[in-house]
């Protein structure tokens, strides 16, 4: 195998150098872009969020993902394509080595080259970014986790490319479907909530594609002649890819067949004088604006129904927050966790300040030297950064301009120019546990569930809104309480709090909207509560808004069509891939359509199997597969099978497949070729 690895390394070295060059070029562009950005910042330009740390920029990750996928697929395909000439392939495989050894020899060499082409430029890039004075932003190795995952996903593409090179099928038919399988795996892994799930999917996908490619070596790329694991892997790979094909075909079909949605949708909106209107909109029709009694809002000048554009100008200012008292508010997916490690908080003329989530503190960098200058926590400024220091708890801060920051009990005002902090408001003596849902180990122990700076013009600081377990506070920028009202009805059924600022000033309206899940669970019957408040927070009146008609009648025609392409097995197993924070599910009410499509596939597949004389065992196996995998399953079946010719049996005169020794109908042998009388045969003996 060593000779084979050496040969593969030598043969594909050019491709490795090319890949290395391309990736180095991509990374160089990132470096140049960063240098340019820093120059622009020095000249007073606006900062650009995550791009401040190039190693944690989603652009860098995406580009890495594209590079890994495309380059690995090309490399895998090329390693096979190089030897696609019939005689060269024969020269390769006709040697005293098993097909597994040949497969391993190619794979090991291919992965070495892939790794070199990827890691050499990446190492240079990391070294550049880690040299002090280059990048003025926090860095943690965990930020490179998506890059590592893209690298691993590239291995799946490598096998997909190899499989594409091996498959004996036409391009327009199913040759490249292995790449579709890899695409599904890489898409699902960035969407998984947990890293272990992503790794699991990658492992399953990788093993499946590698086994399919390995099987291809045993059968010269065909389905017949593969070992059983190879066949299974090929079916699962093409089954996944067929899912993509069937899904997009169903989307196109739905777009072509289903007319544009003409259902109306409605919402309540409040004008500056505190009146609530129901606005109903349709595609292609003017909006209908009526008050709560159903009277249309007429334009006093024209006497006609007020248009939406004019109505929008009459709406009041408002600010909304979504308090969260769970232990992990807005827990991001594993992929997002890697770039949510820090947030560019604010800049001053000389410094950048980031909120660094793992430390719960603001860290500052000098704009000129691009070096760390210190950090700011609830306990003040420090030049040492320790995870053990006092922390902010900023996950509940719906940041606007970064002038305030919170911990569990206190809202602080920041003075970043002087690297100082001042407590603005502290929540004390609140006890309203009975009004909240039962607490447990997963319940947030702090008090503040949401905070927001209110700015009507995106620059001034008009108010601060704070929602605690018991109260909703409106504060002045100085921290003085304008009013506080009880938070009723409380979290978790009502998770959206909105304050409307009415005119004349110092009148308010407090809206409490039901949470989406609670609303759905109640059968869309939970009302929104609106309370009008005076300047001291005294309730003037309150109303429960009538329920708006539920916008979508499910299932919609396009959903029915699309669900035909979704395998029943996906509907059953998808919930296992989600969790409470990130539910992953296709609604169960789509199951009948999915199942119906699967049931139709069974007789179709059975008929094909009967036509080509499949054994009963094979027929049953495929039938179970169609039942689980529906239309994509039937497509995968059509892709993998190689259909033998059929001839008339001289015994029973029925059509029989030519790849059986005996007629499956009557058991007759194949007739030997007709004699012409010119045959010359004699017994042969060994020559001494």
């Amino acid at each position: 195998m060593k000779a084979l690895i050496q040969k593969e390394l030598r043969e594909n070295l050019k491709l490795a150098v090319l890949g290395l060059f391309i990736f180095a070029l991509i990374l160089t562009l990132f470096v140049l872009n960063h240098v340019q950005m820093m120059k622009s910042l020095a000249a007073g330009g606006p900062p650009q969020g995550y791009f401040m740390q190039p190693l944690a920029s989603p652009g860098f990750w995406s580009m890495t993902g594209f590079f890994c996928a495309i380059y690995a697929a090309v490399l895998g395909w090329f390693q096979i394509h190089n030897e696609r000439h019939r005689d060269l392939w024969a020269f390769l495989v006709h040697r005293p080595a098993t097909r597994t050894e040949i497969f391993l020899g190619k794979t090991i060499a291919g992965l070495i080259l892939y790794t070199l082409a990827f890691f050499l430029p990446l190492t240079g890039f990391i070294i550049w970014a880690r040299v002090p004075g280059q990048v003025a932003a926090p860095f943690e190795w965990i930020m490179l986790r998506p890059v590592a995952m893209h690298f691993l996903a590239g291995i799946i593409y490598y096998f997909a490319g190899m499989l594409t090179g091996l498959r004996q099928a036409r391009w327009y038919a199913s040759r490249a479907l292995g790449l579709g399988g890899a695409l599904i795996v890489s898409m699902s892994l960035v969407n998984e909530p947990h890293l272990w799930q992503a790794l699991g999917i990658m492992l399953i996908g990788g093993v499946s594609l590698a086994t399919a490619a390995w099987g291809g070596f045993h059968s010269q790329g065909g389905y017949q002649g593969q070992p059983a694991p190879g066949k299974l892997a090929l079916i699962s790979t093409l089954g996944l890819a067929s899912l993509v094909v069937a899904f997009f075909a169903a989307l196109l079909l739905a777009a072509a067949l289903v007319p544009r949605n003409t259902d109306p949708w409605s919402q309540h909106q409040m004008t500056k004088d505190g009146t609530i209107y129901r606005v109903t909109q349709w595609f292609g029709k003017p909006a209908e604006i009526v008050d709560l009694d159903g009277k249309p809002l007429l334009d006093p000048k024209t006497g006609r129904m007020t248009e939406l554009t004019g109505f929008t100008r009459r709406l009041c200012n408002h600010a909304q927050v979504s308090p969260d008292f769970s232990n992990h508010p807005s827990r991001p997916r594993w992929y997002d966790q890697s770039f949510n490690r820090f947030t560019l908080w604010r800049t001053t003329p000389d410094t950048f300040w980031y909120y660094w989530t793992p430390y719960g503190r603001l860290v500052g960098y000098d704009k000129t030297t691009r070096r760390f200058i210190g950090n700011l926590g609830p306990d003040g400024f420090s030049t040492d950064l320790s995870p053990a220091g006092a922390r902010f708890n900023n996950e509940r801060n719906e940041r606007v301009l970064g002038r305030i920051i919170i911990d569990e009990q206190t809202v602080y005002e920041l003075d970043l120019e002087h690297r100082a902090i001042r407590a603005l408001f502290t929540v004390t003596n609140e006890n309203c546990e009975a009004t909240l849902h039962p607490t447990n180990a997963n319940t947030f122990r702090g008090t503040i569930g949401a905070v927001r700076e209110v700015s009507f013009n995106s620059y001034d600081w008009d108010y601060t809104m704070v929602v605690t377990r018991c109260f909703i506070y409106l504060l002045t920028p100085e921290g003085k309480t304008v009013w506080k009202v009880p938070y009723q009805p409380a979290y978790p059924d009502y998770k959206q709090v909105q304050i409307a600022f009415l005119e004349p000033t110092n009148r308010f309206a407090l809206w409490l909207f039901p949470a989406g899940r609670a609303l759905e669970k109640s059968g869309w019957k939970l009302p929104a509560h609106v309370t009008w408040l005076d300047r001291d927070g005294e309730a003037l009146k309150s109303v429960d808004l009538p329920n708006l008609p539920h916008r979508l009648k499910r299932p919609r025609p396009e959903e029915k069509i699309i669900s035909l392409a979704i395998p029943p097995a996906i509907i059953v197993t998808l919930p296992l891939l989600g969790d409470e924070a990130w539910p992953a599910a296709i609604p169960w009410w789509l199951m009948p359509y999915s199942l119906a499509a699967a049931l139709v596939c069974i007789p179709m597949g059975w008929w094909l199997g009967w036509r080509y004389s499949f054994s009963l065992r094979a027929q049953l196996g495929w039938a179970v597969f169609y039942l689980a995998w529906g239309i994509p399953g039937l497509l995968a079946f059509l892709c993998v099978q190689e259909w033998p010719a059929r001839e008339v049996c001289p015994g029973c005169k029925k059509l029989r497949v030519v790849d059986r020794e005996k007629c499956p109908h009557c058991g007759a042998d194949f007739a030997p070729p007709e004699k012409t009388g010119t045959e010359v045969f004699e017994p042969l003996a060994a020559v001494k």
């Binding site: 005689d87 065909g222 009388g677």
Partner: protein
């Protein structure tokens, strides 16, 4: 295990789409012989070889080499088989030496002396790159790579195809010189009948995917005969005789090529009342061409109108 038969097939069949490329092939190749596998282009020779070496799976039927199923030849069996492909494809970026270095570690019986001897015979420089070699030189290199592992069975797929006469002669000479060993079996397909005549012990002929001949060279030569019958006027219609391959009708003459020419055939021909019946000698090439050429009658008698000046 009886290994007096090196290659054996039973009902070996391969279809490409609806077309059979090899039909119901029953073949036995004894140990130690030089076996020529003949047929026209597209008759199924290469398909047979590729099936025998497990490079193509049969549609039905079975086969064995050294008693092992051709669908699952182990590395040990493959080490005993040398295979020379028809287009002599090698990795273009390799040098002659690198080709040997790549191949050698796989074969426990690799004989570097043989390799050097063959490439020496073809005047190949070890540093020359494959892409710079002529077709004949590449064939020589392939032959060296095939022979150096000291295989017991050599399978050569039209080894001289596309070579100029000098390279061709050189290749065949090396083959004869280096492969004549009592226990070595050579199975080769070819179009070059002169080569077959020089080296083959047995021949097999495929005609439109069907094996029609499998015998010694002598038997084939004796079986396919040509006779000329002279008649005073126009020859009578061609009689229906078993084994008739071709008939040529001319003014006063009927020439017939038959397989299995025997007493009964002669008696049937004499019944036509020819003025003269004489055998016409056939070379192996003529016999082969007659055998594989278009069957039936060809008339060279001009019609009365065409005969007018």
């Amino acid at each position: 295990m009886n290994e007096s038969i090196v290659i054996r097939t039973r009902g070996l069949t391969r279809y490409f789409g609806a077309k059979p490329a090899v039909s119901d092939l029953n073949l036995e190749v004894p140990r130690g012989c030089v076996f020529a596998y003949l047929g026209r282009n597209g008759s199924g020779k290469t398909t047979t070889i590729r099936m025998l070496l497990g490079l193509l799976s049969p549609t039905r039927g079975e086969g064995s080499i050294f008693g092992k199923d051709i669908r699952a030849l182990s590395p040990e069996v493959r080490a005993r088989i040398g295979y020379l492909t028809e287009e002599h494809q090698l990795y273009p970026w390799m040098t002659v030496r690198q080709c040997g270095e790549f191949q050698a570690p796989f074969y426990p019986r690799w004989n570097d002396k043989v390799f050097r001897s063959v490439i020496g015979h073809f005047n190949l420089k070890p540093t020359a790159r494959v892409k710079d070699l002529s077709r004949g030189e590449r064939a020589g290199l392939c032959l060296g790579l095939t022979l150096a592992p000291e295989p017991e069975l050599l399978v050569l797929d039209d080894p001289a195809m596309g070579l100029d006469p000098v390279a061709h002669r050189s290749l065949i000479e090396s083959m004869i010189y280096l492969t004549r060993r009592s226990d070595r079996t050579i199975f080769f397909s070819s179009h070059e009948l002169a080569d077959v005549e020089r080296v083959a012990d047995y021949i097999a002929i495929l005609d439109h995917s069907v094996l029609r001949v499998c015998c010694s060279l002598e038997t084939f030569r004796n079986s396919v005969r040509q006779v000329r019958l002279r008649f005073p006027g126009a020859p009578p219609p061609t009689p229906k005789i078993s084994g008739l391959l071709q008939a040529f009708r001319a003014e006063g003459e009927l020439r017939l090529v038959c397989a299995h020419y025997d007493g009964a055939t002669e008696q049937a021909l004499r019944a036509l009342g020819p003025a003269q019946l004489e055998p016409v000698p056939l070379s192996l090439e003529d016999a082969f061409i007659s055998y594989l050429g278009e069957r039936g009658e060809k008339s060279f008698i001009l019609s009365e109108t065409e005969a007018q000046p």
